[in-house]
Each structure stands twice: as structure tokens, then as C-alpha cells.
């Protein structure tokens, strides 16, 4: 097999796999940066995947499908925001509940929103339109980096969204507010910032991005609906946020590494390497590498005295009367 071809195809697969993760991770970075931990990602992504697919299936309108996925994501995270910000519930417990609720609801609705011919089940259905890859003539023929120019619109959009979200966080006055609220909400409040408003806003934005991430799966990556089709990606997102050190500019590194290892595992299996390495080992290797990287980062973090530290107020509820 041609090595250049192999790498190019691997990169293409990585981008396809990484797109969904990147959207959801970006969303969670912004949510966590204001101090709200949303462990409901898995459920929110699955609901987004369902909402996107069901809308595309019933209307054929992809734009509407994306809007629905984002709306549903925002709605689910609104529950999380209400519980954690207004009711000051434990954020871990609330997030887990959102994941369980979202997963269950998505699977339930997946058997109700389909056509009568298929027993109202969405599983096994195809959609007329999907986000397919669009090759840019010329650029897409270059070996290896050509893969960057033969992706779906959802991936192209990230080329703009990713740098902008870094710029927004570190160069604009709104980003400064986000960072201040997650680091020291009391100070933010004393400077006239409404901590509650900011936290609600970015929890909703995080949910929208998670819904979008889910829709990437059902409208582009594998255009279909399957129960539990996120397969734990929502949990990987939580790890990738740590991997990115809460910096939107670094989100891409984690998603490429994770997407890359996952795709490599598929390619190696396809290449018949499972004879040498057991397929089960290849199956869990991305997660193993996540564990190794997280451990390494924790150690570096201790050595460098918290330069990769999480936002100080992450997971802590806030009221001005608290002492």
C-alpha cells in the first residue's frame, strides 16, 4: 500500500471523526471556563444527533436539522443551568442526571419519530441530504494536506470557528468576562458583572455546541440513527477539555490525537494487523492513551505549579451573600 495514500486517508478519517468531538469540546470549554461543569455532554450529544437526524429525515432540510440539534442541546443544558446556577445543585449529580435523561429520551424518541412503514423506528432509515465532503479543486489533490480540503461544510466551518473562539476568549472584553467569572466569581460580581447571567449564557452555548457535535455524527460521519450512537464520545469530550487545558486554541490538538488514534485503529484492523495486536486491545487503545496523557498532564501541572490548572471556581456555585 502507498504510504502517502495511507496517511492522507488516515488524516481524512481523523478530520471526519474529530469534527463532532471538536464542536462538543469547544462548547464544554466555554461552559467550564465560567465555572459550570456539565457532565451531561453524552446525553446532550445523543439528543442533538437524534434531533438532527429526525429533522433531516422528515423535512430534508439540513440547515433546519442543525438548528433543531442546537435548540435541543440548548434546552437540555438549560435544565442543567437551572439546577446548578439557580437551584445551586451539585453539578456532578445534575450532569450525570442530564446524561442519563438525554440518553434515555433519545433512544425512546428514536423509536417514535420514524416512518410508519418502519414501525415508527428511525433506525435503519436513510436521509436524502447529508453533509458530504466537498473537495476544493487543486488543493485537495496535494498529498497529505489535501485531506484538509476535502471535508464536509461542518468541518470547513471549524477552520473559522476554532481560531475565532480562541481570539474571543483571550482578546475580547467578553472573553475576559468569561475567564473572570470562572476564576473568581466574587471579583467579577464586584466589578459589576452578573455571574448568573454569564453562566446561564455559556452553559446554553455549550449545550448548543454539544447538540451540533451530535448532529455531525448523524448527518455527516455516519448518516443514520442508532441507539447510543455517540458511544461514549460525550465522556471523551470531558477528558479532551482537560487535555486542552481549557484553552479553545488547544482543543484541536486533543481532538486530532484522539480522532487520529481511533482512525488508526480502524485502519490497522482493516489492514489485517489484528493478527498481531488483538482487536480488543486496539479497541480500547484510544482510551488508554487518554489515561496516559491525562496522568502525564497532571504531573506536568504539579511541576509547573498550575499553569494548566482548571478554572478555580469550576464546580462551585456562587451567590454574593456567601462568605
Amino acid at each position: 500500500m502507498n504510504l502517502l495514500d495511507f496517511i492522507t486517508r488516515l488524516l481524512a478519517a481523523t478530520l471526519a471523526m474529530g469534527t463532532s468531538l471538536t464542536y462538543a469540546t469547544l462548547g464544554e470549554v466555554y461552559t467550564e471556563k465560567t465555572g459550570i461543569l456539565n457532565l451531561g455532554m453524552e446525553g446532550t450529544m445523543l439528543m442533538g444527533a437524534l434531533a438532527g437526524f429526525a429533522t433531516a429525515f422528515n423535512t430534508g432540510n439540513l440547515l433546519l436539522a442543525l438548528i433543531m440539534a442546537m435548540l435541543v442541546g440548548a434546552l437540555l443544558s438549560l435544565i442543567h443551568a437551572f439546577l446548578c446556577i439557580t437551584m445551586r445543585a451539585n453539578q456532578v449529580v445534575a450532569g450525570l442526571a442530564i446524561t442519563m435523561f438525554g440518553t434515555g429520551l433519545a433512544n425512546f424518541l428514536g423509536q417514535r419519530l420514524g416512518p410508519a412503514t418502519n414501525n415508527f423506528n428511525l433506525t435503519g432509515m436513510n436521509i436524502a441530504n447529508k453533509f458530504s465532503n466537498i473537495a476544493i479543486p487543486g488543493l485537495s489533490d496535494i498529498p497529505i494536506i489535501g485531506a484538509l480540503f476535502d471535508v464536509s461544510l461542518l468541518t470547513y466551518a471549524l477552520y473559522i470557528i476554532l481560531p475565532f473562539s480562541w481570539f474571543f476568549m483571550y482578546k475580547t472584553k467578553y472573553g475576559m468576562v468569561v475567564r473572570a467569572v470562572g476564576e473568581n466569581p466574587r471579583t467579577a460580581a464586584a466589578m459589576g458583572i452578573s455571574v448568573t447571567k454569564i453562566r446561564y449564557l455559556y452553559t446554553l452555548i455549550g449545550g448548543m455546541f454539544a447538540g451540533l457535535g451530535g448532529a455531525c455524527l448523524s448527518l455527516s460521519f455516519i448518516p443514520s440513527w442508532n441507539e447510543g450512537m455517540t458511544g461514549g464520545k460525550g465522556w471523551i469530550v470531558i477528558a479532551l477539555v482537560i487535555f486542552s487545558t481549557w484553552n479553545p486554541g488547544r482543543v484541536i490538538i486533543g481532538t486530532l490525537v484522539f480522532g487520529g488514534i481511533t482512525s488508526l485503529q480502524f485502519s490497522l484492523q482493516a489492514a489485517g494487523l489484528k493478527m498481531v495486536i488483538p482487536s480488543q486491545f486496539l479497541g480500547f487503545s484510544p482510551y488508554l492513551i487518554t489515561l496516559v496523557v491525562l496522568t502525564a498532564m497532571t504531573i506536568i501541572n504539579q511541576k509547573k505549579k498550575g499553569s494548566f490548572a482548571s478554572p478555580s471556581a469550576l464546580g462551585v456555585s456562587f451567590a454574593i451573600d456567601d462568605k
Binding site: T172, K173, Y174, A180, E183, R186, A190, G192, K304
Partner: protein, 513 residues
């Protein structure tokens, strides 16, 4: 301070302000008037309602009733944004700075009229210009967590100046400063007053009232009990009496200094920070005898806390030896240290001293529960605990509805008395007290100090870490000054002067005066 001009509309007038918190009447129809160019000292014990009153002026809290007039106009202050628009700015006791952001970012944080992308170069230039004008040296690109406490306070002041505040509220601004830095602050304040700005100064230190203010207003239990020009105050004692509502002792009963054997000995204790850098403790050596109070002075954060943690087995030392009651206790566990006769009153009483959700009785027995006195065969005898706790509550006059009340519902002073009772009762010769009177009112402070002296007179060795020089000069027999992890010098308390200790605290080595 210079004369002030009073014949114009007051810049701030608070009328009949009342504020309730659940179960507490924090302010009870308080009036306050501040004139242009005036410094008003707001004096009172902890919990007297000073900070609450000011937090209403800056819009962090809203009064239940009452009116606020700013520069002659009735003001509706619903948020810090509103108060800033009126030119009011506050420096909180706990600095309002975001640790991982730069000085410049902190100064502009939350300002509404900034463009989408703030022009950082212009902003930094303006900060530098302001800092030159007022003699407040800061570097706009430095990250807050790398700054000293004094520098952080300068950033806080600049934040107010940058926003054009002309009514400044300072909540115990000198509590964290060395005497030298406090004098600098005084100079900066004078410069600002000369420009027509006004200030309210919250404090519980009487000498600062006399030194800094034109007018003094005293709050007691949420009520304003007195307001008068500072120069009409004849005796500091009068202020103290107004503050607590009774005569307080300014000298403490203490027996003669009769040191016995060395009970605590530290030899070259060194602790290195994680990840390298300057040692946290750098070859610290000293010894404490029985019947002696050994004071440690210094600005908080110069290694005092780490030193006491090393002595009590909470922090591993990298080299050096610790001898307690003659035994080598270097890097032993906290339980082994306790068993060797050490009692510890930690700096953070809420987090390390008590378990807030547990009852007063349980907190009192938390050290002795494992002894024959309170349990048999590992089963705690509740009736023994009751008797034991009631006895201590009585002896140490802990004010609590009952011993079943959760400790977190007590006042700071009574929480400290609970810790004091437990530690003194179980003390086997060595008592280590870290900032034991920090944040306590005059009455509780007096009780804490008197108890420490009682231990000394009984022949125990007492280590007292404090940031208040008066306290050390009043209570201790010897005073060591710490700076950047080192002991600068150890002096006899009766021969020490505030000036000399202040120089040592600022890191100035021996100088010929």
C-alpha cells in the same frame, strides 16, 4: 491630617439604612455623612456591620430600607455598575482580583464602554501614566498571582483611579501591609485627597483612626453609636470603650518570666517548594523553653504557616531536625506529634480547626475521644462526652445555645474559643497558635491572649504566630521575625521596638541606627 472643607453638600449621605440577614440585624437605621476631601474612619468590632454598610454603598447588597444620596442627589444603587457610575469604588478586605489575569486585564475588567477588542496598548499606557502620577509602581503585563500583597493593593487602588472614582472605600487596608507599606498608603491617600477625592476607611485599629482620619464614626452591633471629629477624641481608650460598650483591659495579667528547659527545638529546617525555586523555609533554627511565649512576626505568607505545619507533622521537611519534648519528631505523622504533647490552633479555623457541621460537643471531644477519658473499647461514651463538653463550655465561656448546636452557627470568637478549649485541655506541654486572634473582636481577642499567657505561666512552651506587632509585644517573651522563609532575627520582647521589627518584616537586615 490637614483641615477639611465642610461647608458644601456632602458627597455621600446614607439615611436610616437598615439591613437584615437571615437571623441577624446587620444594620439598624444607620446614618452616615461624608464630605468632599474628608477621610471618615468607620470603626467597630467584627460583625458590627461596617462592611455590610459599605457593601450597600457599592451595590453588592441592597438595603431593606433607607436612602442614599450621592453628591446631593438621591441614588438608586442596585449593582456595582451603578456605584461606579457615581464615582464610588471600594477596595475590599479580600482583594477583588482575578489571580491568573494580568494587571491591565484586572483594571479594565467589567468596564462597559470598552470596544469588542480592548486596545491593550493604549490601556497600558494610561495605567503607566496613572501609576507615575500617584507613585504606585505596577507593571501592567504582570500576572496578579505573581505579585506581593502590597503590589496587589496598588493594583486595587489603580483600578479605582482608572475608573475615575472620587469616593474611595477602603476595608481594613493596612491589615496585610508592613508598617512601611502602610505609611506609603497614607501618602498616596493624602495625594488623592488633595485632588478633592474623599475616603471611607474601615478599621478596628484605634491608632489608625487617630493617624488617618478627620471624622470617626463608631458602629456597635449594627447601630451607629457615635460620630465626631477625630481631633475631639482625647483618649484612645474612649474609642475602644465606644466600640465594645464597656471598659476593656489594655494590659494582661502575667506572671514573671521564668523559663525552664528547652521543649521545642528546630535545627536548620528547610522546605523546598514543589517544582523548584526559592526555599519556603530556609534553615530555620530556634528553641522555645517551658514558661515562654515565643512570638513569630512577619507579613503573612513569609513561611510562618509552613513552619507551624512542619512542626505539627502536616508538612514534610526536606532537611533539618525537629525536637519536641526532647524527642526527634522530624517528619512524623500528625498523630505522633499530638501524642508527643503538642496542641495546635491552626490559622484557618473554619477549615482546619473545626468540622462546621458537627456539634460543639463533638468538636470539643475530637482529640480526646480515643482516650480512656471519653471512650471504652473504641465505643464513645456519650454521657462522658456530655459532661466533658459542658465542663469546657463553662470554663472557656463559649457562648452557644447548647453543646448540640453545629459549630458553624457560632460567631468567629466562639469558634476560636471552642478550638482553644479543646487544644488547651489536651495540651501536653507545647501549644502552637497561628494567628489565634485574627478577625476576632476585642473581647474574644482578650480571652485568647489571656489563655495563652495562662499556659505560659503554667510552664508550657507557647509558639505564637501573629501579624500584629502590638499583640506580640504585649504577649510574647521573645520575638522572631520571618521574611521569605528565613528568620531575620530573634529579639527579646521587652527590648524590641515597633520600628525595628517593622524593618525586619520588610526584609531589611541589621542596620546601624
Amino acid at each position: 491630617m490637614s483641615e477639611k472643607n465642610t461647608d458644601e453638600t456632602p458627597v455621600v449621605r446614607m439615611v436610616n439604612i437598615t439591613k437584615h440577614f437571615p437571623g441577624v440585624l446587620a444594620n439598624d437605621s444607620v446614618d452616615l455623612t461624608l464630605h468632599r476631601g474628608e477621610v471618615l474612619a468607620l470603626l467597630g468590632e467584627n460583625g458590627a456591620g461596617k462592611s455590610t454598610l459599605m457593601n450597600m454603598l457599592v451595590g453588592l447588597y441592597r438595603p431593606d430600607s433607607g436612602e442614599i444620596y450621592v453628591k446631593g442627589k438621591m441614588a438608586e444603587i442596585n449593582s456595582p455598575q451603578d456605584s461606579m457610575a457615581l464615582g464610588i469604588g471600594m477596595i475590599h478586605q479580600e482583594f477583588m482580583l482575578v489571580g491568573n489575569m494580568t494587571v491591565a486585564e484586572n483594571i479594565i475588567l467589567g468596564m462597559k464602554d470598552l470596544p469588542f477588542v480592548p486596545p491593550m496598548a493604549d490601556i497600558k499606557a494610561k495605567i503607566t501614566e496613572l501609576s507615575k502620577r500617584y507613585g504606585l509602581q505596577v507593571y501592567p503585563d504582570k500576572v496578579i498571582q505573581d505579585l506581593s500583597v502590597g503590589e496587589q493593593q496598588r493594583v486595587e487602588i489603580l483600578k479605582l483611579l482608572y475608573r475615575g472614582a472620587d469616593i474611595l472605600i477602603l476595608d481594613e487596608p493596612t491589615a496585610v501591609l508592613t508598617p512601611g507599606e502602610a505609611r506609603d498608603l497614607n501618602e498616596i491617600l493624602k495625594k488623592m485627597l488633595a485632588e478633592g477625592k474623599s475616603a471611607i476607611f474601615i478599621t478596628h485599629k484605634m491608632d489608625e483612626v487617630m493617624e488617618f482620619s478627620h471624622t470617626v464614626q463608631v458602629l456597635r452591633r449594627g447601630k451607629s453609636v457615635s460620630s465626631c471629629p477625630t481631633n475631639t477624641i482625647k483618649r484612645v481608650q474612649d474609642l475602644a470603650n465606644m466600640m465594645v460598650g464597656r471598659d476593656i483591659l489594655f494590659s494582661l495579667d502575667r506572671g514573671p518570666y521564668k523559663p525552664t528547659d528547652v521543649m521545642v527545638e528546630a535545627r536548620d529546617i528547610t522546605v523546598l517548594p514543589i517544582g523548584g525555586g526559592k526555599p519556603v523555609l530556609d534553615k530555620v533554627s530556634f528553641s522555645i523553653r517551658g514558661g515562654e511565649i515565643f512570638g513569630i512576626a512577619g507579613v503573612a505568607g513569609n513561611g510562618q504557616q509552613q513552619l507551624t505545619e512542619a512542626l505539627t507533622g502536616l508538612l514534610r521537611v526536606d532537611s533539618g531536625t525537629i525536637l519536641l519534648n526532647g524527642k526527634d519528631m522530624t517528619n512524623k505523622t500528625p498523630l505522633q506529634v499530638i501524642k508527643s504533647g503538642v496542641s495546635h490552633i491552626p490559622a484557618d479555623r473554619g477549615r482546619m480547626g473545626v468540622v462546621g457541621d458537627m456539634s460543639v460537643g463533638d468538636n470539643l471531644s475530637m482529640k480526646k475521644y480515643r482516650t480512656q477519658e471519653l471512650s471504652s473499647h473504641s465505643v464513645i461514651n456519650r454521657s462522658w462526652v456530655r459532661k466533658f463538653a459542658d465542663h469546657l463550655i463553662d470554663v472557656f465561656t463559649i457562648k452557644t445555645p447548647s453543646q448540640d448546636t453545629s459549630v458553624k452557627f457560632l460567631s468567629g470568637g466562639n469558634i476560636q474559643k471552642t478550638i482553644l478549649a479543646r487544644e488547651i485541655d489536651s495540651c501536653g506541654g507545647i501549644l502552637i497558635a497561628v494567628y489565634p486572634s485574627r478577625g476576632l473582636d476585642v473581647g474574644a481577642t482578650e480571652a485568647v491572649r489571656q489563655n495563652l499567657i495562662k499556659q505560659r505561666d503554667k510552664g508550657n512552651a507557647v509558639l505564637l504566630v501573629s501579624e500584629e506587632l502590638e499583640e506580640l509585644l504585649m504577649v510574647a517573651d521573645k520575638i522572631a521575625v520571618m521574611f521569605e522563609g528565613r528568620i531575620m532575627d530573634i529579639v527579646d520582647a521587652d527590648k524590641a521596638s515597633t520600628e525595628r521589627l517593622g524593618m525586619l518584616m520588610a526584609g531589611v537586615e541589621r542596620e546601624d541606627v
